[in-house]
């Protein structure tokens, strides 16, 4: 009896114990496939270790090394870091095994023009620093502030020349900005002081010598350039000169410029010039990408298609890359080929003689875009004769020797961990820099933005009435409705007031509805403040600004309109999703109601499958305006 009881007790206890241990929770198991994506999505941020990676630190190559990042800064680069002791109070640093990959400093594009999304576009391709060579201080200053913070992790750091120094009607004035220009030597100290006050990290001048063959734009004189150089140096600023021929470059360097921008298409550098560059310790930013584009030999489309770069480019960047320069005077193919060869050969001779070369893309000029074009520039520099290591150096460690950018472009102890991990070996194939695996900005991993193919699921709009203005403005038969729009969005000062107004029952207006018959009255004032002032009404098509709709089934936009005597012109703007540059079509209005047909097929360069906004606005002429709209249709 007793032993039976014992057996039962033991049995029951065993069952309870087994049940208990079966109930204890296990870590949720993942399939191997999941594990893999897990590994990829693991975030390496702040403090972590990268092991077994080839490192180029901006100056030297380490074939296999371990890199430790502590608190967003490089802490150790060693051939082999010891295993982490398994301590608990502070948990182990995450480790990334990056065998077969290469870690590079975040790249530096030494020649861009930064505005709009430039800096996030740059970072999307691992360009963590941009040296801007002409933008407005209003854009540059906030970003120059942000670069001081380690928290600036979603955009590249910006250094800027702000407004360039050029002659009246000279190069740089053609973009529509109201910029100060230089007439005389007396202006110079004040001009340089103003630039520095407005945040210029260095000074950029545009120069074309009187002795140059081509006199295609007015230029500052050699005396003014000399005064600029002296004044800049007095204020401890580097001065770089935009030139496009050897004669001008020679003069600029002789006068004391620190560096020149653009390689030469007119002739190949001579020995004398190379010697001059060496003796003055001057550098060159050849910008071969833009030179290729100007001479109609851009390979930006191949660049766009290769190495799965495309998904990471916005629609606008696409347009920038596929855009082309107009002829630029050199029309014959042979001359064009020769011109680019001169530029390449010059780079080869200069770099061969150890003249410092910095890589710059001149984005977003036609055929170039922020970020990706710097990778293209590296390819071109290698083709011109730089070794792969020299090319990498030109976009990393070399820049800090000439511009005041701190430790950017290097992976040295204490420098902020802005770096890119690429697949493969850029020392063997320079295009490996495009095989980006991860990007870190100041030690924080940057999630690359994928733009993807045009949205095939975009809602398709069919012809029909949009609104007859007899209902509230946000109730349209399709789309999200109408609303005010002015340049206040972009920092302007224009105003607008809209109202639905009852038609007077005059003979020439037929009431289509017994109860209400309203039209839309838009009045306001265009005021100076933004470069392109606008004011009026916007018709939002998609659910959000990011969702466009497909208008390929629509032939025309039809509307009735009239305007006050002084208004006359109405602009219809079509916005493609994600783009800030609308397609503009102007319509002449009269003081009487008239129906207008705007044929979409007549609009150039517009992708009708992805339109987010159609705006009816007054542009250009400063002053008060008033226009009326009724019966808006798609036909």
């Amino acid at each position: 009896m007793k032993s039976k009881l014992l057996v039962i007790t033991v049995f029951v206890l065993t069952v309870i114990l087994i049940a208990f241990f079966m109930l204890l929770p296990e870590p949720s198991l993942k399939l191997d496939a999941d594990k893999k994506t897990d590994e990829l999505s693991q975030e390496y941020k702040g403090s972590f270790i990268i092991r077994n990676v080839q490192v180029y630190d901006g100056h030297f190559r380490h074939k296999k090394a371990d890199v430790k990042i502590i608190d967003n800064k490089i802490s150790v680069i060693a051939e082999k870091l010891p295993e982490q002791s398994k301590s608990i109070g502070q948990s182990k640093l995450p480790e990334l095994d990056a065998a077969g990959k290469t870690l590079l400093p975040g790249l530096i594009d030494s020649h861009t023009h930064a505005y709009q999304n430039a800096l996030s576009e740059a970072l999307n391709f691992g360009v963590t620093t941009e040296l801007d060579m002409f933008t407005m201080p209003s854009f540059a200053n906030p970003h120059q502030q942000q670069r001081k913070s380690l928290e600036n992790t979603s955009a590249a750091d910006l250094f800027s020349a702000t407004i360039l120094a050029t002659a009246p009607q000279g190069h740089g004035t053609q973009y529509g900005f109201d910029i100060p220009v230089l007439h005389s030597v007396e202006q110079i100290p004040q001009f340089v002081a103003d630039r520095i006050k407005q945040g210029a990290d260095y000074i950029k001048a545009v120069y074309n010598s009187k002795n140059a063959k081509r006199q295609h734009f007015p230029s500052i004189s050699a005396e003014i350039l000399k005064a600029l150089i002296d004044s800049a140096h007095q204020q401890d600023r580097v001065l770089v000169v935009h030139v496009d021929n050897l004669v001008s470059a020679r003069e600029a360097i002789t006068l004391g410029a620190n560096g020149i921008i653009h390689s030469f298409v007119d002739q190949v550098v001579d020995k004398e010039f190379v010697e001059l560059m060496l003796s003055r310790k001057s550098f060159i930013i050849p910008t071969l990408s833009v030179k290729a584009s100007m001479t109609q030999q851009s390979e930006s489309e191949q660049l766009l298609k290769s190495n799965s770069n495309e998904p990471y480019l916005s629609k606008q960047q696409h347009q920038q890359l596929t855009a082309r320069f107009p002829g630029f005077g050199i029309s014959s193919k042979t001359l064009q080929t020769e011109a680019l060869q001169n530029a390449f050969r010059s780079v080869e001779l200069l770099s061969g003689a150890k003249v410092p070369v910095l890589s710059g893309s001149d984005a977003p000029n036609p055929g170039t875009t922020h970020g990706l074009s710097l990778h293209g520039e590296l390819e071109l520099l290698v083709r011109a004769g730089l070794t792969n290591e020299q090319a990498l150096h030109s976009a990393t460690g070399a820049v800090g020797h000439h511009f005041p950018i701190g430790s950017r472009g290097t992976l040295s102890v204490g420098s902020s961990a802005s770096m890119i991990l690429v697949d493969g070996n850029p020392f063997e194939s320079i295009s490996s820099t495009q095989k980006i695996v991860r990007i870190w900005k100041n030690g924080v991993q940057f999630e690359r933005t994928q733009f993807g193919a045009p949205d095939m699921h975009a809602q398709k709009f069919k012809p029909g009435l949009i609104t007859d203005f007899n209902r509230h403005l946000n109730q349209t038969n399709m789309g999200k409705g109408l609303g005010e729009t002015t340049d206040k969005l972009a920092g302007g000062k224009s105003t607008v007031k809209i109202a639905l107004v009852e038609h007077e029952h005059t003979a020439n207006v037929k009431a289509r509805n017994e109860d209400t018959n309203q039209y839309l009255k838009v009045r306001g004032e265009l005021k100076p403040g933004f470069m392109f002032p606008w004011s009026g009404i916007a018709y939002l098509l998609g659910e959000t600004q990011q969702n466009g709709v497909n208008l390929s089934a629509v032939n025309s936009i039809v509307f009735k309109a009239k305007a006050s005597a002084q208004t006359k012109q109405l602009s219809v703007l079509l916005f493609q999703t994600g783009s800030f540059r609308p397609i503009q079509k102007d319509v002449e209005l009269s003081e009487q109601w008239q129906t207008y047909h705007l044929k979409l097929s007549e609009l150039k360069d517009v992708d009708l499958t992805d339109i987010s906004n159609i705006s009816f606005v007054k542009t250009r002429t400063i002053g008060e305006f008033e226009f009326m709209l009724d019966d808006l249709y798609f036909e």
Binding site: L24, P25, S28, S85, K86, S87, G89
Partner: protein, 255 residues
């Protein structure tokens, strides 16, 4: 009706009977059962879960170290304090002259330790899993439980020696004076690596440190010393204290 006298002595029966009575006695002694069961659970809940320094690893780490703390308690107390008190009351001598083999005495106390150890483990595991989000593979849970239960054996030896040397009235205080500081210095209350370097070095001399390191190996949270080192230290301590206990036992006989 069977009596013990009629039968050939049934060793198993004796063992079970002794273990059962001892267990019942201990459970009826709240002065023993409540602190030994409650302290590890309470401390673990405070330091491991409520005021955890690192919610991802701390609950697991401290669940293991407090389990070690938990299982060595009953070993030290049931042997150390128990024997000392029984010696004081003369109960020990009475048992010695009874026909019960001495082994039954030891085995019953060991099984008693095991039972308490298991209870503590069950409680800690339950709290860790429910409130501390501790997630371990099944083999890890089971190996940990086995290590804890078997790991109490060296402390039984230590307890036995203490019990044979200490006086009844001073035993509880003395055992506590050994138990609590030793646990702290072995890194059972707080992770060993938050202690100063000197104390970490000193911990090498303490057996609970080695038991904890063995257990932490299961979850890959140990300091990375070889298993053999920990095992041999524990074995050495066991042998040393068994030797001391035997010596003390015989010395007592001569008195």
């Amino acid at each position: 009706m069977k009596t013990i006298i009629d039968d050939k002595p049934n060793l198993l029966n004796i063992f079970i009977l002794e273990a059962k009575t001892e267990t019942m006695r201990l459970f009826r002694t709240p002065g023993f059962s409540i602190p030994t069961l409650l302290f590890p659970i309470m401390f673990y809940t405070f330091f491991g879960i409520v005021f955890s320094m690192n919610p991802t690893t701390m609950p697991t780490y401290l669940m293991i170290t407090y389990a070690v703390f938990g299982v060595i308690g009953p070993a030290l107390f049931s042997f150390g304090v128990g024997i000392a008190i029984e010696r004081g009351q003369g109960w020990f001598d009475l048992k010695e002259v009874s026909p019960m083999p001495a082994s039954a005495y030891i085995v019953s106390r060991i099984s008693l330790t095991f039972i308490f150890a298991s209870l503590i483990i069950l409680f800690l595991f339950t709290i860790g899993a429910t409130f501390g989000d501790v997630r371990l593979m099944r083999w890890q849970w089971i190996s940990l439980a086995l290590i804890f239960v078997l790991g109490s054996l060296p402390f039984c030896a230590i307890g036995m020696t203490l019990g044979l040397y200490l006086k009844a009235n001073s035993a509880p205080a003395t055992v506590n004076l050994i138990y609590l500081p030793m646990s702290f210095l072995s890194g059972l209350w707080l992770p060993i690596n938050v202690l100063p370097e000197v104390m970490q070095q000193f911990a090498n001399l303490l057996p609970p440190y080695h038991l904890a390191q063995l257990a932490l190996k299961i979850t890959n949270m140990d300091l990375g010393f070889p298993i053999a080192l920990h095992l041999s230290v524990l074995a050495a301590y066991s042998l040393l204290f068994i030797f001391l206990a035997v010596k003390a036992y015989h010395k007592k006989d001569k008195q």
